[in-house]
Symmetry: none
Subunit: 241 residues, 2 copies
């Protein structure tokens, strides 16, 4: 499958040049013209790579970068920064902020393509094997399997889709209606309480004996998936204090 690249650049000629060349080289391209635009777009579809201009209207590139790094869903999303030569002192800060690579304007298209491939190659494991990790949960999207710790979970299709949605936004509380839309489908005539029932079944499947419940009920609001790290410290080694 083609890697999906989001290009965030406010100058239209550069934007188009990038888009055209990336598409010619086997990338699928999304375009955004300012920071807010970019964040919205990413919310809808998480790209495999973001090419981000440093100077942007509304939201600067660094701010976009910082926000992306803050969200779990985009924490490891590869980012390449574009920066003008005059802005070079910023280079350090860009890398500190979490950009994976830097390209200084003016640049050649060959360079962009090369860097993009390099960054993607580096991030490859996450792309070849699409998997979601939240706490001690590991969901393999290809194999359609879920592990809690090392115990495989037997989930029905609905339970799987529900858990997947929750894992894509850990900690976030979803109302019953939202979950119906996201998991069952926009215009399905299903009772709200059906969500409860499915949550219950998912709970039963998720939580083995003695394990803490990962599904948090927020009364009058909905449900959220709560990450839980099974082994933050060694349980066997001298774990005094």
């Amino acid at each position: 499958m083609k890697p999906y690249v989001l290009v965030v650049e406010d100058e239209a000629p550069i934007q188009d040049l990038l888009a055209y060349n990336l598409e010619s080289n086997g990338f699928e391209v999304g375009q955004a013209y300012d920071g807010e635009d970019a964040l919205l777009s990413i919310t809808e579809r998480v790209p495999d790579l973001v090419i981000l201009d440093w100077m942007l209207p509304h939201l600067s590139g660094i701010e976009v970068c910082r926000r992306l790094r803050r969200k779990p869903a985009t924490q490891r999303l590869p980012i390449i920064m574009l920066t003008a030569r005059a802005e070079e002192p910023d280079r350090l800060r860009g890398l500190e902020t979490g950009a994976d690579d830097f390209i200084v304007k003016p640049f050649s298209m060959a360079e962009v393509i090369a860097r993009a491939r390099a960054v993607l190659r580096r991030a490859r494991p996450a792309l070849d094997e699409p998997e979601l990790r939240v706490g001690d949960l590991l969901m393999d999207l290809d194999a359609h399997r879920v592990l809690r710790g090392n115990r495989p979970l037997a989930l029905s299709p609905t339970e799987f889709r529900l858990l997947r949605h929750l894992m894509e936004h850990p900690r976030r509380v979803f109302g019953r209606a939202q979950l119906l839309d996201a998991v069952w489908g926009i215009n399905q005539e299903v009772e709200l309480r059906t969500v409860d029932a499915t949550i219950r079944r998912l709970r039963k499947a998720l939580n083995g004996p003695g394990e803490p419940d990962l599904l948090r009920t927020v009364r009058a609001e909905g449900y959220a998936l709560e990450p839980h790290d099974a082994d933050k410290t060694r349980p066997e080694a001298a774990s005094s204090a």
Copy 2:
């Protein structure tokens, strides 16, 4: 109207350079040469943005920053920190302290201007922030959670909505009728005294043992949320930099 920028920098050449360039670019500029100076100046007139040197006589930049964050009036005041490359390890602490952006010396004037504009632009919309912060209270709207310091609070739905409303307008006093409208809903037939009861429950949940009460009762008027930073450092005492 021109944005009013306060530049806090003890080295006169840099100070003047900044002031000159900012003024040339449509800013109104105030100057301060040490931390106490800066705080005094801010008391007299709250700027739209503070550019703050990291190393200052009398009061370090980080301390100034922390104090500003403690005062409700300056809680969200945008702050840009200036720091020398050698001081880089402190960068983390700076962001923790609450600076909005960082500029590493040596910097270009264009960079300062750009950052200043960016920070100001960003300061406008506080709507898309999924977090509310008031004093030592932190409300995560996505996760539907509240922390006081690092202690998680267990709030009922009504308590949560009430606290949220108060946190959206810290220090402001709301009458019982206003709170009923905002929290319970416009046309609800509920006794005014119900607010008292809920405030009481919220107090109990909010205030741990030994912690000061954040809910101020204004006799014959209503209630207000009082920001309070649980800060143990005594800046008056010999503080190290």
